[in-house]
Amino acid sequence: MFPPVGLPLETVRMRCLLYLGCCALVALHSVRAAAGGELLSPDAPPEQAIDHYIDTRLQRVGVSPAPQADDANLLRRTMLDLVGRPPTALEAKAYLACQDSAKRLQTVERLMASPAFVRQQAAEFDAWLMEGTRGNIREYLAKAFRENRSWDRMFRELIVGEPDDPKQQGAIRFLAARAKDPDKLTNDTSVLFFGVNVSCAKCHDHPLVDDWKQDHYYGMLSFFSRTFDVGEFFGEREYGRVSFKTVEGESRDAKLMFLTGAVIDEPATPEPDDKAKKEEKKKIDELRKNKEVPPPPLYSRRAALIEAALHDSEQAFFAKAIVNHLFNRLFGRGLVMPVDQMHAESPPSHPELLAWLARDLQTHGYDLRRLIRGIVLSEAYARSSRWDSAAQRPAESLFAVALIRPLKPWQYGTQLKLAATDCQQYPAEMSAEEMDNRMQQLEAAGRALGASFELPGVDFQVGVDEALLLSNGEKIANDLLATGDGSLVGRLAQLSDARAVAEAAIWNVFARPPADDEVKALTDYRSQRADRIEAARRQMVWALLTSSECRFNY
């Protein structure tokens, strides 16, 4: 049905050889995961398990981690991760002033209960699940996160989908955006939901992973091979097999096979004759014309994929992949790197922790909130991103020092908009509801601004286009350096004391207490421009907005 794209045999063989050579090196250097061992009690909360396993490894290698980040830093990090924006200066001041020893826990719980949490998770999952497509499932995801739907349910709704169910409206776009390219659908599904990039096994058995063969690739492809679209809806045939050519040139029928090698028994379905096929085509054309949902098949291979994935309790690809993804998102690094290489030759940095969290997720109904909360409340998450120690900077995989993460486009857009707005626009006495309304407007503007920025992937680099836009773009200057009421520049104009101007600017943009040296740099800058004080204010704000402190989640 989908003939394999043939690389010349020689190319395949040589690529494998090169690959294997490289892999041998990887294998030599990688420390095998400690085998077996009892996991920490399943009754422990996730944050405790995270710290237990990470600290155990730190002690074993004799590394003292960085201290906890200060309150302002940690508040910013937590808010960016949970609600997609940094705190305002007033929010930061209130948090710093609060003496309650439980303030961190309370803040995390308040943030996770807010509508902004739903928006941020929807934005994150949409960017992740729909990257490289033109589709958007943000509305569906917002619905799902609002109800705290479980991850297995979301998986089912995205892959199988019942378009008649209003609760699932929009989920179908996951498939729709990929339906024209079965290879992409197969590989994206494997990468996103199982942490496994199978595309290497398309043209030849995987050179790196012994137990991944072409059979696995075409086995996975088979789950989608009967799917067809009728405009915006999808149907599934009850017949059809995938066949492929091996490197040796042998032609082979693919089995319906999950990544674990489990072959799914399905009802035998003979290929219909030409007449039946013609009739089928007519029916499909009619459905398309009438914009109707095709009737569900008696046996659905896509549904079989869900069952296979959820029954895989041993290797737990499905649970481990989402654990790894959220680790990667919230720590800046997964327990397995790269995140699409979850296999025997790419061992986790903390195998027991990965296994513990996967089990915890399974036994708690795939509740993503529980996992996110656990990560964010761990001490490992709360570490400083600054390594001031004289000792050598520890390897990233130890989670001994927090990593710096580039903001997502909508986060950076919102950060810039918020930083350029006078924080007094959001006074402490404003109701939570009013505040959320205002923040939604700000986020919408931030998202529009963010369209100019790139979604960061692994080893992301900031392009010079961004620096040029922020340096010379007219709209940027009019928008972020506006002088009117409600803007930061406007507020600075009302202050006469040079030090007060610098401090207000730093608070407003960085949401943390100013340090003397930066206050001095700003006051000096301003005093050298006594003849053009308004220009000076705008330039100071520009320098703060474009600094790396605004660009990253640190």
Binding site: T11, M14, G463, A521, A543
Partner: protein
């Protein structure tokens, strides 16, 4: 994705220096990049440059580099002899014919794909797409291989001012990262955001960037990260790139030179390309659309080939006069050629089975033809090659090892697919 070259990582070196580099780059507007002795000496050292003439829509090989006069597929145009005995080209290319000693023609491309989008991708990245890997295009690879990380000029400029086929005329840095994205000009001949706003004076523009660097350096203490370094590298390049704005302005070129390139948009962009190359830009792509002559092929090609002949010849003469031709490779590429069979609308359709490209200048054995199509141009008779071989040849002509590989995650990705060989016969 992670992409490290197999040698010493330039990025890690720069990572440490990036914040400090801001101050160095900050006063570059004062520097005339054209007259900078540093840049002149760089070129003398043999830095290589590329101008890609992208003939969007699919130029006919029969009306350019591989005429079939007298055959049923030949069309109305004659073949003319070139300065190199035995080599004939279409009569629409008389100027090119006289300058053939700088050019190698490859007449034996069989690239299989005959739809615009996919074929254009193939000819931009030199290999087939893969669902799991975003390959960089030729320009991004050469920006990385030939450019300097802290360059004051852009390292990949891409003109595509027509609308037809622009979506297929891709420009992607892929796994090399946004640092190697093209400066993409679609609306006008001058890039966006290179010009300082009126509201800020030049000194303030420089000094506010210094203030930014100071604040950022403070933040960066004790923090290490490649994206953080890239953020500051990007800002460090701003002033230098602004200084390069005048490279896009040809109003100062002598009238004689402007006339040489001609008053067409394609000619003007080729002249800008020469100015950019001269200032050290390693890769410039100039796109000319729309060659997709399903009807009235011969009128279309009369116009477009005549212009191409003129512009290519102007480029060759101008680069040669400036001593730049030996450092500069001019490439003509399309997504495919056109069918030998002439259809009922006197057009030629998409054809990927036997078509031609040309390589001129740097590293090329001029006055040569490699490969051959059959007498009607229906199939490759001799020396069949694909996109990979053309790319490998381009890399070799520029002194780059086409087998050099990047590490993408844990996977080694060579510049061209393994097993691909350059076409030695056309290399100097």
């Amino acid at each position: 994705m992670t992409a490290h070259s197999s040698g010493v990582s330039r990025r890690s070196f720069l990572g440490a220096a990036a914040v400090g580099a801001g101050a160095v780059a900050a006063d570059m507007t004062a520097l005339d990049v054209l007259r900078s002795p540093l840049l002149a000496s760089e070129l003398k050292r043999g830095e290589k440059r590329v101008i890609l003439l992208w003939l969007a829509g699919g130029a006919s090989q029969l009306e350019t580099f591989d005429p079939k006069p007298g055959r049923p597929t030949g069309g109305p145009y004659r073949a003319i002899p070139t300065a190199e005995p035995g080599i004939h080209v279409s009569e629409l290319m008389p100027k090119f014919a006289q300058r053939i000693k700088h050019t190698a023609i490859i007449r034996s491309l069989d690239t299989k794909i005959a739809d615009h989008g996919q074929a254009a991708r193939l000819m931009h990245i030199g290999r087939r797409d893969e669902p799991s890997l975003r390959y960089p295009d030729l320009g991004a690879i050469l920006a990385r291989e030939l450019g300097q990380a802290d360059s004051r000029v852009p390292d990949y400029v891409n003109f595509y001012t027509a609308t037809e086929g622009r979506g297929s005329g891709i420009s992607q840095a892929g796994f090399l990262g946004a640092r190697y994205n093209a400066m993409f000009l679609t609306e006008q001949n001058t890039p966006q955001n290179l010009h300082k706003l009126e509201e800020i004076n030049d000194l303030d523009h420089v000094e506010r960037a210094e203030l930014r660097n100071l604040l950022t350096a403070r933040f960066a203490r004790g923090r290490e990260s490649a994206p953080l370094a890239s953020h500051n590298e990007a800002y460090a390049r701003v002033r230098g790139l602004m200084a390069s704005e005048k490279l896009f302005d040809i109003s100062g070129e002598p009238q004689r030179i402007r006339e040489m390139y001609g008053p067409t948009l394609f000619g003007e962009q080729a002249l800008i390309a020469r100015r950019l190359i001269e200032a050290g830009v390693p890769f410039v792509k100039v796109s000319r659309a729309w060659w997709d002559s399903h009807g009235q092929n011969f009128e279309t090609h009369l116009e477009l080939v005549t212009e191409l002949d003129h512009v290519m010849s102007a480029l060759v003469d101008d680069l040669q006069a400036r001593g730049l031709l030996e450092h500069t490779l001019i490439v003509t590429l399309s997504e495919f050629g056109r069918t030998p069979v002439i259809n009922a609308s006197l057009g030629r359709d998409h054809f990927a089975s036997a078509w031609s490209v040309s390589l001129t200048g740097c590293g090329i054995r001029g006055g040569t033809v490699y490969g051959a199509s059959d007498e009607d141009g229906q199939t490759v008779k001799d020396g069949k090659v694909g996109a990979g071989e053309v790319f490998a040849t381009i890399f070799q002509a520029l002194g780059l090892d086409h087998q050099k590989h990047y590490e993408v995650g844990i996977r080694p990705v060579p510049l061209t697919d393994i097993g691909t060989k350059p076409i030695k016969e056309v290399l100097a």
